[in-house]
């Protein structure tokens, strides 16, 4: 006698109860508070905000806890919440030139107005595990400039004065910036749309693609013109008011990559640009994004499209980790109806194949016997 499997609902509920238990772990260990995550796992929070496309540290921290530290799951949680939020309007474009800079480094000049500002960086730390952190010891107050926050000219502006770098990307006067969260993607895409997709793209995917350009798969001779991290003001134009309304500020990381370009039929020899901008502090992501942006501009400069990083449909269609993880993981859903269809086909084809083989063997035997 056969009894069909039932009780999916109960099984799901039980599985989720077990998940909640494992998430909490040993009850004698204090539960994590969101402020602890916001303060002490800040770069993880930044990544979730950036790829989740929602600037809210507390929600990102909640997502990280809920996801048990699985970053892509946390990003997914934030995205699925973000998508339900009503849209009040679009702020004016942020001005990263007016950024209150906490860190700014340039690889193209030894010194420059505003100076090289190392800021809170892992660079030049020796990667030695620090047992004192495990002990939770006190941390000394840092030394900082008296006026930490001041606007600094961007390196691209310095280069532009000499006319040796292409002008900053311009859109036609009446161009309304697109919004990848409200409009379906269409290829080929305008650069504003492409940059949005890259900015929320998976850090690991963009890192690997950016790296591939350095290893010769569409090499684009990059120099870090500048990486800067700091706070920028958000302003909203309200039709009824004569001035833009300040809404607060967000922390962003911007990378301006300066790329050598020997010129083509379309453009004179000059430096070209690759651009990266992400929420929070993530130089790796901003730099990888800038490398990919420059690679994806190949056709603009009349360069041959020869490598994966230059292929817009390939890069943008596969950069979103929420989409990627969903589709890869959906393979564990039941597929037995389709599998049954394939099973039937393979059985039939196999039977025909074996019949042919046997017939062939019989024929050989007969010939040998003759």
């Amino acid at each position: 006698m056969y009894v069909a499997v039932k009780g999916g609902e109960a099984a799901i509920a039980n599985a989720h109860a077990l998940l909640a238990d494992r998430r909490r772990g040993d009850r004698s260990v204090p539960a994590l508070r969101l402020d602890q995550i916001v303060e002490q796992l800040a770069l993880g929070v930044d990544r979730v905000m950036s790829e989740g496309s929602l600037y809210d540290r507390e929600l990102a921290a909640l997502a990280i806890v809920q996801a048990r530290g699985d970053m892509i799951e946390a990003i997914f949680l934030v995205r699925a919440y973000r998508t339900t939020l009503p849209r009040f309007g679009y702020t004016k474009a942020i001005d990263t030139g007016a950024m209150l800079v906490e860190r700014r480094v340039s690889a193209t000049y030894k010194d420059l107005p505003g100076g090289q500002l190392l800021g809170p960086t892992f660079d030049y730390t020796h990667r030695l595990l620090d047992p004192e952190l495990a002990a939770g010891g006190d941390v000394a107050e840092p030394l900082q400039r008296a006026s930490e926050a001041e606007a600094m000219q961007r390196v691209s502006a310095i280069l532009a004065r000499e006319g040796l770098i292409e002008p900053d990307g311009d859109m036609p006067q009446d161009h309304v910036p697109g919004d990848i969260t409200r409009e379906p993607l269409e290829f080929p895409m305008a650069r504003d749309i492409r940059l949005q997709a890259l900015s929320r793209g998976d850090e690991g995917f963009l890192l690997a693609l950016g790296y591939s350009t350095q290893r010769g798969y569409a090499r684009n001779h990059p120099f870090v013109g500048e990486v800067r991290i700091g706070e920028v003001e958000l302003e909203l134009d309200v039709p009824e008011l004569p001035f833009a309304v300040p809404l607060g500020s967000v922390r962003v990381t911007e990378c301006q990559m300066v790329n050598q370009f020997k010129g083509s039929a379309k453009a004179p020899p000059q430096f070209t640009r690759g651009y990266g901008l992400v929420f929070g502090q993530s130089e790796r992501k901003a730099m990888a994004m800038a490398l990919c942006d420059r690679a994806l501009r190949a056709s603009e400069f009349g360069e041959d499209v020869v490598a994966a990083a230059q292929d817009e449909e390939f890069v943008i269609s596969h950069s979103d980790n929420v989409q990627a993880t969903g589709f890869v993981e959906h393979l564990k859903l039941p597929h037995y109806v389709d599998f049954q269809a394939e099973l039937d086909l393979v059985r039939r084809m196999r039977a025909e194949h074996d019949a042919r083989e046997n017939a062939g063997k019989a024929e050989e035997k007969r010939e040998a016997a003759e």
Binding site: M1, G8, L343
Partner: protein
């Protein structure tokens, strides 16, 4: 949940905001007006992963109202985990009546099957679609496939099917078998077994297809011509089964193979669980069916 816990994140009724629903509704209307054409839409992140029915869920969430009765199936069954999960989602966010009975449902969301019980006028069948582009495996680029649809240039598809015949003696596509709609658009029927293709042809029900990750919606209005691609010398044919359902003795239905033991023992039972239960309730018995119905759970 404490007051503080509820303050941090709240969701809209029926999950989608009204603007999103309007956008999806407009895409559905265009899809109905251009049968088989894939309408791009700004698919949203949903609270279930891409690839797990987000397209179907967005379509259902955009059409469903308080008077609707919803049925959700996966592999033909109402009790597979993903079907249970999606049904629970709509119960929670839209407080809608649900059923497992095909005839009682006004909206049926499905993955991989079309119910055996014939659909009727007024019913809507919503398909979850992973890859809506029937030409995708022949040409990975959207820019190219869009041109092919625009020019009605489907030679590549016929070449592929014909290569199958040359190599295997038959068309080796058993599911997601491409169809031509009203003599114009070649369409992916979603990964339903080709057994179900004939049910799409001139169905009295409205058929809507949602592909969330790929951001496409398409549709078949009722009484629309849907023809499976084939060749004169190799006409389209559906799968047949050598034996009836082991539980309800149904013939000419799609069967799942169930493994019974470690020694290769197996049996074939209806993939459409509602259809099978109905038949058993009517007294039909297959050779492995228990003598009496197990009590309802």
């Amino acid at each position: 949940m404490t007051a503080q816990a509820t303050d941090i994140a709240t969701y809209n009724f029926a999950y989608l905001d009204e603007q999103t629903k309007r956008m999806i509704r407009r895409a559905i209307l265009k899809g109905i007006a251009i049968p088989g054409y894939q309408v791009p839409f700004a698919s949203r992140e949903m609270p279930m992963p891409y690839g797990w029915g987000t397209g179907g869920v967005q379509v259902t969430a955009s059409i469903i109202g308080p008077d609707d009765v919803l049925k959700v199936i996966d592999q033909g069954a109402d009790d597979t985990t993903n079907a249970v999960s999606i049904r629970a989602f709509f119960k929670k966010v839209a407080n809608v009546a649900v059923t497992t009975e095909t005839a009682k449902a006004t909206i049926i969301q499905t993955r991989h099957r079309i119910p055996e019980y014939p659909l009727t006028t007024g019913q809507v069948l919503v398909y979850q679609v992973p890859i809506p582009e029937p030409l995708r495996f022949l040409e990975p680029r959207e820019t190219e496939t869009r041109k092919m649809h625009a020019l009605e240039e489907y030679g590549l598809m016929h070449v592929k099917l014909y290569e199958d015949i040359a190599r295997h003696g038959r068309i080796a596509t058993t599911y997601a078998y491409p169809v031509k709609v009203e003599g114009r658009y070649v369409m992916d029927p979603s990964p339903t077994p080709k057994f179900d293709n004939p049910k799409m042809h001139r169905s009295p029900a409205l058929q809507l297809f949602g592909a969330g990750r790929e951001k496409r919606i398409y549709a078949l209005p009722p009484f629309t011509d849907v023809v499976s691609l084939d060749f004169e010398d190799h006409p389209f044919e559906v799968q047949t089964f050598d034996q009836p359902c082991a539980l309800c003795a149904a013939e000419n239905v799609y069967l799942d193979e169930v493994i019974l033991d470690d020694h290769g023992g197996h049996m074939f039972v209806c993939s459409d669980t509602d259809h099978c239960e109905k038949r058993r309730a009517e007294g039909h018995r297959g050779h492995l069916a228990p003598e009496t119905m197990e009590p309802a759970q």
